[in-house]
Symmetry: C2
Subunit: 136 residues, 2 copies
DNA sequence: CGAGATTTGTGCGTATGTATT
DNA sequence: AAATACATACGCACAAATCTC
């Protein structure tokens, strides 16, 4: 049973608890988290509270949700390298709803926006791309 | 009165409505959004639903909440340029809870992580920093 | 193919706590 | 002190997606 503490709301405590399950490896990528109903019974909390805890992990991008199936620990996707042209400006931000759909960006994952000197903009999901700064 | 549509839940419709208010400039940075109570009365919805709509905008990083005051359209902070050392690797992701507090990263704002060739890691809030690729 | 169980999504209501004005 | 506004937590009901048999 989790009870409200001065330092942390119940849903934050539960989120931290689940986060540690994942980071410690007790919950592996691809595995499902306990269902909302299970969390409700196990910790004696309301469903809203359990959902809020899961929402925290979703916002952090470490779990994904499949409706009618469950909450799954996210796989670490293959990272590809990206080297912009000289004179580019790079920013990171959360995607718009359109970009999320277009680029298949999961919840809680930002995008990398590369603005070339000619003004052209390219957007990359940050969970699959990283930038390499040339060694010279 | 907003009613559920096949295409969109009520809270999503309301989020889109508020988003347009902001993007169109009718709600300027620094201005407050209508309070939850106002939204409830104006659109004939439950408070939970109104909160959920606001939560969408918070996750997108376009509004911030000041407890006891209201929900405020976020200012566009001054952007500073950042040029990593040669051979660095740069990734973007959502911050951990600790980083959020440490770096004062608002909700819905990713961080830029720069890994130098020597392994040292530096983390920058993406709403205040961008990368400049030297023109050479 | 369908039926039912499971699981998350959405919406509503209520109550109380905390921070600001 | 009082009013305002968001935060947290509980409850209920039905919808929609997925899976199993």
């Amino acid at each position: 049973m989790i009870t409200p503490q001065p330092g942390g709301a119940v849903y934050r405590q539960l989120a931290e608890l689940l986060r540690q399950e994942i980071l410690s490896g007790r919950l592996q990528p691809g595995q499902k988290l306990p269902s909302e109903t299970t969390l409700v019974q196990r910790y004696g909390i309301a469903r809203e509270t359990a959902r809020r805890a899961v929402a925290v992990l979703r916002a952090e991008g470490i779990v994904g949700v499949v409706r009618g199936h469950g909450v799954v620990v996210r796989e670490q996707p293959t990272i590809q390298d990206l080297t912009p042209t000289s004179g580019s400006t790079i920013t990171a931000r959360m995607p718009t709803a359109d970009e999320r759909a277009e680029l298949e960006v999961p919840e809680g994952v930002p995008v990398i926006a590369v603005v070339a000197p000619d003004g052209g903009v390219e957007v990359y999901p940050a969970h699959r791309w990283r930038l390499r700064w040339p060694s010279s």
